[in-house]
Structure formats: structure tokens, C-alpha cells
């Protein structure tokens, strides 16, 4: 029991430290970038890339953050933007599906590639897979929603 508590305390410290040093700089950098030309260009380029999956430009920005930094670290921006822009349920659903299939593309992938996984499958195939699943579930959700209305 004592060692469980000790593991919990040191793990909690680790977790909180990591989240803090990642989240606070991300928020500062985002605050500085938002509204600048290059950031708008990046979001516009990204939203054109994922627009075919049904994302609006407002959802594309938090999706990009989650895609790069992960659900846990990007979660703050995801939750913030969901409330800030009052993103619709469909947009949050699409974003959740896409990020469920692929997030933290750099950190997580590198850890497993270092272990011997093939980058083409782990990154390339996963991106295609995420797009297909988002498209299929997005279409299915739209059909269900339409049925419910009529």
C-alpha cells in the first residue's frame, strides 16, 4: 500500500510537471501566433487539407493542435475552442473521431519507430486510416441525424 501511494505521488508529480512545461508554453506561443499572417496561412492550408472530411476552419485549428501535440496536451485548446467558438456537436464529433485515430503524430510515432516499427505504416497508413474513418463515421452520423429529424 505504501509503495502504491509513493508510485502515485511520484507519477503525479511527473505527469503534472510534463503537462505544465508543455501546456503553458503552447498557450503562450499560440496566443502570440493567433491573428498573425503565418498562423492564419497555416490554419487555412490545414483546413483546406482536412476540409474534405467536413471540418470548418474554426475546428481545423484545435484539430491541428491535437494532431501535433496530442489529446492530453492539446486537450486544453480543444476544450477551450469548443466553448469559445461554441463549435457544434457535429464538429466536435468529427474532431474527436479524427484525433482518436491520429494524434501526437511526432512524439508518439517516434517512440514506436525507435522501438523498430515501420514509419511508412505507423505514420503514412495511419493518416490514410484516420481520413477514411472520419469520412465514414462523419457520413454515418449525418445520416442518423437526418433520420432523426424527419
Amino acid at each position: 500500500m505504501g509503495d502504491l501511494v509513493r508510485t502515485f505521488l511520484s507519477g503525479t508529480w511527473d505527469l503534472c510537471f510534463k503537462v505544465f512545461v508543455i501546456v503553458v508554453p503552447i498557450m503562450v506561443v499560440l496566443e502570440l501566433l493567433e491573428g498573425t499572417g503565418p498562423w492564419r496561412a497555416l490554419v487555412r492550408g490545414w483546413s483546406r487539407l482536412v476540409g474534405g472530411l467536413g471540418f470548418t476552419e474554426e475546428t481545423a485549428a484545435p484539430t491541428l493542435v491535437g494532431f501535433v501535440f496530442g489529446i492530453a496536451y492539446g486537450g486544453g485548446i480543444i476544450v477551450r475552442d469548443t466553448k469559445l467558438h461554441s463549435l457544434g456537436r457535429r464538429q466536435v464529433f468529427l474532431m474527436s473521431v479524427f484525433l482518436s485515430m491520429v494524434h501526437a503524430i511526432v512524439e508518439d510515432s517516434l517512440v514506436l519507430i525507435a522501438l523498430g516499427a515501420s514509419a511508412i505504416w505507423v505514420v503514412g497508413f495511419r493518416l490514410v486510416w484516420a481520413a477514411v474513418v472520419t469520412l465514414v463515421l462523419g457520413t454515418a452520423a449525418a445520416v442518423v441525424a437526418r433520420r432523426r429529424v424527419t
Binding site: V19, V24, A72, G76, I78, F93, S96, V102, L115, S118
Partner: protein, 157 residues
């Protein structure tokens, strides 16, 4: 400091907006950290207790037969389930204990990359108004499906 901008009227507002943005970023960063910590720490504790109670090992034994369509030995269920409940790093730790071939590592890696840290990340999704359980199930099922597909594709290609 900045040789290019001699115009005082252009410099002052920029410095002020930078300061305002940094302060605003620090504030929302700390608030976000607090929101995440309140969600993540209890989830982490729950995962630790589940591990201590032997739930992870019991689940791994049940999941053993599911591994064969993926071309994986039953023992590969351990890092998979460890990843579902804990996180990628814990899964990698469990993975290094097994002797897997290169293609097996790739297949298992894909399933882990899609489905991991389900309790903590599910809590974040719930905070955004989605069902944490629903997305947990989606990630397990879709991750296994993707891994099975890649297992076949790697043989064919």
C-alpha cells in the same frame, strides 16, 4: 535591439501586444493545466489501482485469442492492454519484454498508437462534451481493425 524598426510609433504597440499576449497565454496556460490535472490525476490513480488489482493481466488473458488475426502471439495482449489503461510509455515498456519480429512490432505499434491512455484521454473528450466510453470502444475496435488490415497488407505488398 531591433535595428530594422526605427519608427517609435510602430515599436511601442508591438511590444505592448507581445506583453499582453504573453500574459494572456500564461494565464490560460495555468488555467488549462489546472483543468487537465484535475482530470488526469484521478484517472492515473484509477489506472494504478486497476493494475495493482490484476485487472490488466486478467484482461490480457481474455484478449489473447484476439491476437492471432493480427499475426501476434497471445502475450502481445499484455502491452496492448497496458497501453489501453496506462499510456504509450508503459506499453513500450511491456513490449520490450517480448520477442517480436519487425512486422509484428509494426502491427502492434499501430494498435497501440490508435488506442492508448483511454481513461485519461477519454476524460478529456468527455470535457469536450463527447462520450469517453464510446470513443474508448471506437479506438480499441478501430485500432485492432487497422492492425489486422496492415498485417494482411504487409504480407501482400
Amino acid at each position: 535591439m531591433d535595428e530594422a524598426s526605427h519608427d517609435p510609433n510602430a515599436r511601442v504597440p508591438l511590444r505592448m501586444t507581445v506583453r499582453r499576449d504573453v500574459l494572456r497565454g500564461l494565464k490560460s496556460g495555468v488555467l488549462t493545466f489546472w483543468m487537465l490535472a484535475r482530470v488526469m490525476v484521478p484517472a492515473y490513480g484509477a489506472a494504478l489501482i486497476l493494475d495493482r488489482l490484476g485487472v490488466i493481466h486478467a484482461l490480457a488473458r481474455v484478449a489473447g485469442p484476439v491476437m492471432s488475426p493480427l499475426g501476434l502471439p497471445g502475450s502481445a495482449a499484455v502491452p496492448l492492454v497496458v497501453g489501453y489503461i496506462m499510456n504509450i510509455y508503459a506499453a513500450v515498456g511491456a513490449m520490450t519484454a517480448l520477442h517480436l519480429t519487425g512486422p509484428q512490432i509494426t502491427v502492434l505499434a499501430l494498435a497501440i498508437l490508435i488506442g492508448h491512455n483511454l481513461i485519461v484521454e477519454g476524460a478529456v473528450l468527455r470535457k469536450a462534451g463527447m462520450s469517453g466510453t464510446g470513443f474508448g470502444v471506437l479506438r480499441v475496435v478501430a485500432g485492432l481493425a487497422a492492425a489486422a488490415l496492415v498485417n494482411v497488407l504487409m504480407r501482400v505488398l
